[in-house]
């Protein structure tokens, strides 16, 4: 009989996978679970397996579909559920990817150690325990693996530094703070494949000589914490984690530390301060954590995705990993494709593909027939890349040359309705609030940037504001201690560089070309479409709309504040931007 598996990652659950699973159980089926396959736009997803073979992937499943699915599985005749089967086009979203870090996500049961072991789990750890730590580090060096948390620093180099640091008490830390709003690959890995994180960490701990390790998980990820907790418990009970790992004499335990909500704690020295229980304020480097980290002991910090590649590299060889990608950037990278994209979700591809191939090839381009404007990469530390640079390759250096960064892999796609000045303002609002306050330039400079951007979006911009922004940006870059402040100007600088015309339109013509800034837009009613229902007039907060029932209503432009309530209220699409 076919096996039913429901995708139960956070995104699947948000789309209603929990209700689908319950409905399947009520219908007499015995569904198993898996994590997030990354095709988030198709959730809830239900897979039908025959043994290990995926027979059918059903998408956008509703609880009402449960009886039909249960019956189809019971009878073996899938005709009744074919209407839910994934389309060939959507299939491509997954088949065009190359999965290493996500190799088990959405495939195995994340709550089962047996399932992980059946998928070659902990074989790399076994192999490593028979190698010297130096040989392990050498294999990682050959792979060219670089940190996936943002900075892209060679992983072997950090491991080697921690290994060579003086002292017997060393710590390993996994950075699962995932602060870039718009990135969620770390969450997906922990929820969908927690043992691969544990295995990667144990290999790293062996290589550097750490007996204690932590995973610092973002507080907003409750399900990830639950799944990781269970995986740690199961690994401990199986003798994989804790004292005498797999009977090798090597010991290491891993504990979870939940974050408490501060973006700056993603920065490694701030994270260490937070682990120690203090305010998460970055420390001056050097000394680097490899020398003086947690409790001033040698420590190594890596990102979740970095660790998720490690077991694969050990099993398949560093050379195989290094064979993918470009000269400077090896292996694969996971991106979280979101925003105004048709097919959004997690995309893992070899480095070296172009942005166009990812956004249009895999992501299917912009939805609702709109036009691509920009893609934001690297979150608050990154920048907006315009259409003219879509043939840029995914490569640390080439992306860096655009003024954006590879970052942790957030790719937020924007269309013509997104105002780039407002986008810059959005990020500066974020960094101004998240600045830890230690450095004057960062604390006050980001605030000033936000104020200037606010006045531009409100139609109160002044001639010379753009130059003022640029000057402030330079000052902040020079005067900030940590990466948060040093990179906070990037969203402003890249939007000025590529979308200067939008700034000028706001400042000189009091016009928002994207029609997003409320203070700079008006609405009007198309008399041909208006049915005279009056819904818009009731919603208008300033009573700018008048008319007689069943006759076209009209908006008084002198009173309209551009809030858009009328547009949202009209069921006939009669209201549009003037």
């Amino acid at each position: 009989m076919l096996r039913i598996v429901v995708g139960m990652g956070s995104c699947g659950v948000a789309a209603g996978a929990g209700r689908v699973k319950e409905a399947l159980e009520r219908a007499g089926a015995k569904p198993g679970i898996t994590g997030c396959v990354g095709a988030c736009y198709l959730e809830p997803i239900v897979d039908l397996y025959e043994g290990a073979e995926l027979k059918r992937r059903l998408v956008k499943v509703a609880p009402e579909d449960a009886p039909a699915i249960a019956a189809a599985v019971e009878s073996g005749d899938l005709a009744g559920v074919e209407r839910l089967a994934i389309s060939a086009e959507d299939e491509e979203f997954l088949s065009r990817q190359t999965r290493i870090a996500l190799r088990h996500c959405g495939v195995i049961d994340p709550e089962s150690l047996d399932a992980y072991r059946a998928a070659d789990g902990y074989k790399a750890l076994e192999k490593v325990l028979g190698m010297t730590p130096e040989a392990v580090i050498e294999e990682i060096k050959v792979s060219g693996l670089a940190g996936r948390g943002g900075a892209g620093f060679p992983t072997w180099f950090k491991w080697n530094a921690a290994r060579n640091a003086k002292g017997d008490e060393k710590y390993l830390i996994c950075n699962a703070d995932e602060g870039d709003p718009g990135a969620f690959m770390d969450r997906a890995v922990i929820e969908s494949d927690p043992h691969s994180l544990i295995e990667g960490m144990l290999i790293a701990a062996y290589a550097i000589g750490a007996k204690e390790a932590f995973v610092y998980v973002r507080a907003e990820y409750p399900l990830a914490i639950v799944r990781l907790e269970k995986a740690l418990g199961d690994a401990r009970a199986a003798g994989i984690l804790g004292k005498n790992v797999l009977g090798s004499g090597f010991s290491c335990d891993i504990r979870i530390k939940a974050g408490a909500g501060a973006f700056v704690c993603g920065e490694e020295t701030a994270l260490i301060e937070s682990l120690e229980g203090s305010r998460g304020m970055p420390r001056l480097k050097p000394p680097f954590p490899a020398e003086k980290g947690y409790l001033n002991k040698p420590s190594n910090i890596n990102n979740v995705e970095t660790f998720a590649n490690v077991a694969w590299i050990i099993l398949n060889g560093g050379a195989k990993f290094a064979a993918m990608g470009t000269e400077n950037s090896k292996g694969t990278k996971v991106f979280a494709l979101t925003g105004k994209i048709r097919r959004g979700g997690l995309v893992e591809i070899p480095m070296g593909l172009t942005l166009r191939e990812v956004i249009f090839g895999i992501g299917g381009g912009i939805r609702d027939g709109k036009r691509f404007k920009a893609v934001q990469m690297g979150g608050p530390s990154g920048g907006c890349i315009p259409e003219s640079l879509l043939d840029t390759r995914i490569d640390y250096r080439e992306l860096g040359a655009t003024g954006a960064i590879m970052g942790s892999g957030g790719m937020v796609v924007m269309d013509e309705t997104t105002c780039m000045v407002n986008m810059a303002k959005f990020f500066l609002d974020f960094t101004a609030r998240e600045s830890c306050g230690k450095c004057v330039h960062c604390r006050i400079g980001t605030r000033r940037l936000h104020e200037i951007l606010t006045r531009i979006t409100e139609g109160k911009g002044r001639e010379g504001d753009v130059e003022l922004l640029e000057e402030l940006c330079r000052g902040i870059k020079d005067g900030a201690l940590c990466g948060l402040g040093q990179t906070a100007p990037n969203p402003v600088l890249t939007t000025i560089r590529y979308f200067r015309d939008e700034y000028d339109a706001h400042i000189r013509e009091r016009r928002c070309p994207a029609g997003e800034c409320a203070a700079l837009r008006k609405f009007k009613i198309d008399p041909a479409k208006c049915k005279g229902c009056g819904a818009c007039a009731r919603k208008c907060p300033v009573k700018a709309i008048a008319g007689e029932p069943k006759k076209p209503y009209a908006i008084d432009p002198a009173k309209c504040i551009g809030c858009g309530s009328c547009e949202a209220a009209c069921r006939f699409g009669a209201v549009a931007k003037a």
Binding site: G277, S278, T338, F426
Partner: protein
């Protein structure tokens, strides 16, 4: 050094138990750790997760991350304000709802997203968001869960 008892961990314990950090607990933790109450308050106010006043029965986390921003999270905030009369960091007069803005719930593909009492709701529209909180309020009989 037993960092199970770091100030952050102690505060997390207190909040898990009470839903917020009562003032007395700040003094207790300070005494326990041998530091000033100002230091503990400093830690408690640094992290956005810690609340110093009692939250409503239902905690709404509305995402204002990048993906949600691009997909009109502001419209959802406006809808919740209309329905509940509260903005970010506020609690409704009936004590049923506290609204907080967060930076990303990790469900960006389903943006805009909000999480109520740990359950995520995706692909929101202003109407859908209102309906969800209305349903919770009605199931609470106005008295809370």
């Amino acid at each position: 050094m037993n960092e199970n008892e770091s100030i952050v961990s102690l505060l997390q314990e207190v909040q898990a138990k009470n839903g917020y950090i009562p003032k007395d607990e700040i003094y207790r933790i300070a005494a326990e750790k041998g530091v000033s109450p100002a230091k503990v308050t400093g830690v408690a106010t640094f992290y956005s997760q810690f609340r110093l006043s009692k939250p409503g029965k239902n905690l709404i986390l509305l995402c204002k991350g990048t993906a949600c921003h691009v997909n009109s999270a502001d419209g959802i905030a406006a809808a919740l304000k209309e329905e509940l009369g509260i903005g970010g960091g506020e609690t409704s007069a009936d004590g049923l709802f506290t609204l907080e803005f967060v930076a990303c719930l990790g469900c960006c593909s389903l943006s805009p997203v909000m999480m109520i009492n740990g359950v995520a709701y995706g692909s929101l529209t202003p109407e859908k968001a209102k309906r969800i909180v209305r349903e919770i309020r009605d199931s609470n009989d106005g008295k809370g869960a």
